[in-house]
Point group: C2
Chain length 279, copies 2
Amino acid sequence: MSLETVSTNRAFGGTQGVYKHASKATGTEMTFAVYVPDHAEGAKLPVLFYLSGLTCTHANVMEKGEYRAACAEHGVIFVCPDTSPRGDDVPDDEGYDFGKGAGFYVNATQEPWATHFQMRDYVENELPALIAANFPVDIERQGITGHSMGGHGALTISLRNPGRYKSTSAFAPIVSPLNCPWGEKALTGYIGADKAAWRAYDACALIADGARLPDLLVDQGTSDNFLEEQLKTHLLDEAVAAADMPATIRMQEGYDHSYYFISTFMADHVAWHAERLNA
Amino acid sequence: MSLETVSTNRAFGGTQGVYKHASKATGTEMTFAVYVPDHAEGAKLPVLFYLSGLTCTHANVMEKGEYRAACAEHGVIFVCPDTSPRGDDVPDDEGYDFGKGAGFYVNATQEPWATHFQMRDYVENELPALIAANFPVDIERQGITGHSMGGHGALTISLRNPGRYKSTSAFAPIVSPLNCPWGEKALTGYIGADKAAWRAYDACALIADGARLPDLLVDQGTSDNFLEEQLKTHLLDEAVAAADMPATIRMQEGYDHSYYFISTFMADHVAWHAERLNA
């Protein structure tokens, strides 16, 4: 599991790096970003994974997410994977919401996607091991967050792996792929028409089926163009209420789906994770 | 002086807007960004102008500059103009360091540049009047900053207009166009070979010729690839020392020329300006 350093930049008293490696899970080269605050020699820091939304690479949040000040303050390593396999031999779709840039954090079972679109395996297993082997992280202290499709990824990965993530949050997540057009298209395409199989990739269904988190933070803008048709935050409200699961789901007046929204609440999320990761 | 709103996004308890207008100074449409923190009805806020560097538009700092948290905290309006006129009828150069994206904040006198490349007039006169007429600013409380070519712009505009700017700072500025390849190319092209005319566009020459600022903050990364050949911070050190002009010029270990550097020190600069603008 060797890494190639693409770039490093000094930032906020730490190092913002970009790295690439040959991924076993996806069978492609994968690129990701890691921010490491300066720390005492030999120290191991907690790590927060951020899963990006549709159309994004590792670079969007790295450039616009404004996480470094808070990560430096709290001593948290911040990891930003890509949203899909890339490369000329990776199949794609004409839409922005399927194929490259839209891996949906699933293990595809349908052709031609199954060969490379194994983003669940990549983010759940390969990447954390790679991070643990190559960066000064205490892998017992992992948190996970994400935006939109990446919020869906964060919620479902954490719900499927009880106890692995000490903290879970999301920005404007897709809360139920079973109940929105983005989810219908992606899950039909990647894992087929049998909706029983979709439940492992649906935060609301996972909660209804018994999965629990000790705590959860979600921010959602009220002026988000995707709220009504795709994100449907109210379904998560209903799911956690029915399950009596602790969750803080905040509707943020006037905010949209952009990085202007994400960056506004990023420091809050990093602090929230740090409190749990450093507990 | 009517404005057209291109976009607005809620961010950090304020509004990040992008606007365009027909500029008299440049004879083109000009686009700029303004961040306005929420404020009491009828309040007038201080304003900080940020001049960008080579190749940038208004968007680079808007996306990567991380100024909104500090501006919201201190109640400062932040204005980001473009770096040159744009459009099909605007002449350009093959290099990234001349023509479009490289106006150098001068009034060009040489053809074919003179018609549109009047960025000094635009930034010194037209834009502040436009901002004063359309945003809740107290135009008596203006500060100015910028990066690289924009740091040059901020320093020279402030030095040429004593008393107008209550605060002046720069990130990795070109301190002496008379003494670097970027300056040689741009000033020869825009205003001709007579170097006497260049002194109005050279911070070190302006100081040597008697211009003074009450105070100045400059940050410069020690790992900046352009430091030795183009930026030459030591010339500014020498100029302010010879003039006995107060200035805080900080060499920042390991930082480069990128927005990772700028964003790291942005909150410091905004706070420094706010202290003087709110005094």
